[in-house]
């Protein structure tokens, strides 16, 4: 590589382009004017190491590793405050979801990040029968850090569980099967096909 090219390589920034192509609504990132309304509007704002405003600037600065391994976008509660307040109308919530998903897909999201784990368990739960089984989902969450921790979690939450059972809002019989779609096979095939199409379009090997 010539000296000139080396110098240019230092400034070359492909991460913004990568985000525009691979992240949901990523083409909006360049529109951010760094006003910070999103950061100030987030209910969990002070839990974000990098607020959306910062993430947008970091993307434009080419900080690929820092952005994709960040824990921040996993703090999104999907309240949509940032979306409705953004003066430039950036679909910020969607971009945060998109960044989190992309980082997860690349295996760069922080390992054991609790919301990442919950999201994975939730999706696997719903994709199995087409409908969420709340009991199995709760149990999967309690036991995600191993059996001993699971029992501890279960004991800590037993009051809530019993309260909900008394109110007929948690059915122990759901453990034996529970609600499901009739055409769960069709749903499995449909989701697999959607993944395949998306991977093909994104240029990933399936």
């Amino acid at each position: 590589m010539s000296e000139n090219r080396q110098a240019i390589a230092h400034y070359r920034n492909n991460f913004l382009k990568e985000v525009e192509v691979h992240v949901e609504d990523g083409e909006w990132v360049k529109m951010c004017m760094q006003c910070g309304v999103c950061a100030g509007s987030c209910p969990l704002g002070n839990a974000w190491q990098h607020t959306p405003q910062k993430l947008f600037m970091m993307i434009r600065a080419g900080k690929r590793e820092e952005v994709l391994s960040s824990d921040s976008m996993w703090m999104c509660t999907s309240c949509y405050n940032c979306i409705v307040r953004c003066p430039r109308k950036l679909p910020i919530t969607h971009i945060m979801h998109g960044l989190a998903h992309y980082a997860h897909r690349l295996g760069m999201a922080p390992k054991g990040q609790p919301t990442r784990e919950v999201a994975r368990l939730f999706w696997n739960n719903l994709a199995k029968t087409g409908r969420v089984n709340e009991l199995k989902f709760s149990l999967a969450m309690y036991f995600k850090d191993g059996f001993i921790q699971g029992i501890k979690n279960l004991l800590a939450m037993q009051g809530i569980g019993i309260g909900l059972m008394k109110a007929k809002r948690l059915n122990p019989m759901e453990l034996l099967g529970g609600h499901k779609c009739k055409d769960k096979d069709g749903i499995h095939k449909m989701i697999a096909k959607a993944r395949e199409i998306e991977e093909r379009k994104q240029g990933y090997a399936s």
């Binding site: 949901e24 969990l44 839990a47 999201a119 709340e134 809002r169």
Partner: protein, 299 residues
């Protein structure tokens, strides 16, 4: 009364024995009195909810919702699709709009739907029950069946997030929507004015993954209701109802507070005001008992 027909998408939490089965119970009398006929979409599936993005990519999430839209289009043609759950409504409406705007996404969705022997043409409109109440029935219409006005009750109208943002009810502001307060007044109760936690987030799905952060939100939402002299909180959202009601005991345990604020749905208020029984209003489905409302229902 001639009934108006809607394709109904109950959502996972409104199934029998699930966390919002009290809501599911309470809409029957309400809809009956208001001439709303809800026809359940056959074999509907989960919308992916707000946390589905982590594992599910954009197209898999859109396809989940496109399946429900396609089933509604096929089995209940010409009917608006109505959800009771804001997360279901948001996902469905977002899907309907995204597919209508992008021929590429629509083609992808239909290619995947073919695996389930379905096809979506894009003709269905996705709505929330509150939209049906406000826009199709109207406040006068909601008032007409009231036989037991909830006089003397002061209620904090907690709208939460997803019934309000990003779509919301047409003509309402995101920061201070009025319809829930008007609904409270319509059934004869007094809305707690100046309840500043009206559109605060309860933490949503992060109630599971980040309990301390979420419980901080919930504490604010409940304490503000106390500060404004409310006896209970009313909400249109299934996750808000569950989070704000269920975790008060956890907050008490950890922080030494004595929170015991009942949290109910607008549909439960309406069912009681329309003369429905305690059971018909789903008022046997609470962890913190809404005693005053239960007493009115028993009378």
């Amino acid at each position: 009364m001639t009934k108006k027909n809607y394709a109904f998408y109950p959502g996972c939490s409104s199934q029998k024995g699930a966390s919002a089965s009290n809501f599911a119970a309470s809409i029957e009398v309400m809809c009956g009195k208001l001439g709303i006929q809800l026809n359940e979409i056959p074999d509907w599936n989960c919308c992916g909810a707000s946390i589905g993005y982590g594992e599910g990519g954009l197209l898999p999430r859109l396809v989940l919702n496109a399946r429900n839209l396609a089933l509604a289009e096929q089995h209940l043609p010409g009917q608006d699709m109505v959800s009771g759950c804001p997360a279901c409504w948001l996902s469905t409406r977002e899907t309907a709009e995204k597919l209508r705007e992008s021929a590429d996404l629509m083609a992808g969705a239909n290619e995947a739907l073919k695996e389930a022997e379905l096809d979506f043409k894009g003709t269905v409109k996705a709505r929330h029950i509150v939209e049906v109440l406000v826009e199709d029935v109207g406040f006068e219409g909601m008032k007409a069946p009231v036989v037991k006005p909830l006089q003397g009750m002061k209620i904090a109208g907690y709208v939460g997030c997803q019934t309000n943002r990003p779509f919301g009810i047409a003509g309402e502001s995101f920061e201070n929507p009025q319809y829930l307060d008007r609904m409270i007044a319509t059934v004869g109760a007094e809305p707690a004015s100046g309840y500043e936690q009206k559109v605060t987030c309860c933490g949503g799905a992060l109630a599971f993954s980040e309990p301390d952060k979420s419980q901080k939100q919930i504490r604010d939402i409940v304490e503000s209701a106390y500060d404004h002299g409310a006896e209970m909180i009313v909400t249109p959202c299934q996750l808000c109802q569950a989070n704000v009601e269920i975790y008060q005991s956890e907050i008490n345990k950890k922080q030494g507070t004595k929170l015991a604020m009942p949290v109910v749905y607008y549909s439960q208020l309406m069912t009681v005001a329309y003369g429905g029984s305690l059971k018909e209003a789903g008022l046997d489905g609470h962890v913190i008992q809404p005693k005053k409302l239960q007493d009115i229902a028993r009378k």
